[in-house]
Amino acid sequence: MKESLLDIICCPLDKAELELEVHEREGEEILEGSLTCTDCGETYPIEDGIPNLLPPDMREAA
């Protein structure tokens, strides 16, 4: 994902802003990292460049 995606996405639970933590970057693309809700504190993983913004109860089941 690109950092500019942060202007479009939010926490799926409470719609608050997300804070990005980058673990691996390739140019503009963030390949590995996490997104943490600035309100509820829930953390969402970024894997292979794809942020997984499913709520925690759907993350494992789906």
Binding site: M1, L5, C10, P12, L53
Partner: protein, 191 residues
């Protein structure tokens, strides 16, 4: 009858572009402006998102519930997030929302427990996914934003238009195409 099994083919992980995808992509490419922010919900293979981005120059962000679809779309160069419909999209952001929903009416017990079922089945009415989408899409649309929704005659265009009206949308049919077992319509929904 259009049987889910026929539509399913041999692909079981990601819905591949078909007549409905082509129709939605063609109409969207005509409607979208270069400076629009476009969201495609349930992008599947990423075909529609890729075409609209390529033909209009607009920024297109796509979402899908299915991890295989997310990877397929990303492989096409589409900006993708894994999401349940519109849940992680900010309020008042999208100029255009595109959706080719799972719409085939499915009897209970006729369903498969795999990703292709999620891509195709709209429950008993065919509107099990469309209805919650219509209830929530207003939140993410920018003030002058609109929705391009693909609807099949199998799902009932009138019923979809009525549900959209309950959420404050007017509907215009931009394009109809007839096929042996269904006709497909692209609806433009605006407030």
């Amino acid at each position: 009858m259009t049987d889910l099994a026929d539509r399913r083919g041999i692909e079981t992980d990601v819905y591949q572009p078909a007549e409905d995808s082509h129709l939605l992509a063609t109409v969207a490419a005509e409607q979208v402006d270069e400076d629009n922010l476009v969201l495609e919900v349930g992008t599947g293979s990423g075909y529609v998102a890729e075409r609209v981005a390529g033909e209009t120059g607009a920024r297109v962000v796509a979402s899908d519930l299915n991890p295989h679809a997310c990877r397929a779309a990303r492989d096409r160069g589409v900006e993708v997030v894994r999401a349940d419909l519109l849940d992680p999209i900010r309020t008042d952001t999208c100029d255009v929302v595109l959706f080719n929903p799972p719409y085939l009416p499915t009897e209970e017990g006729e369903e498969w427990d795999d990703w292709m079922e999620v891509a195709l089945s709209g429950g008993e009415t065919g509107r099990a996914v469309i209805d919650p989408f219509l209830g929530n899409v207003g939140r993410v649309l920018a003030p002058d934003g609109y929705v391009l929704l693909l609807v099949s005659s199998l799902t009932g265009v009138e019923a979809v238009v009525e549900t959209a009206a309950e959420s404050g949308f007017s509907a215009v049919a931009l394009r109809d195409e007839s096929y042996p077992f269904e006709s497909l319509t692209v609806l433009k929904l605006h407030r």
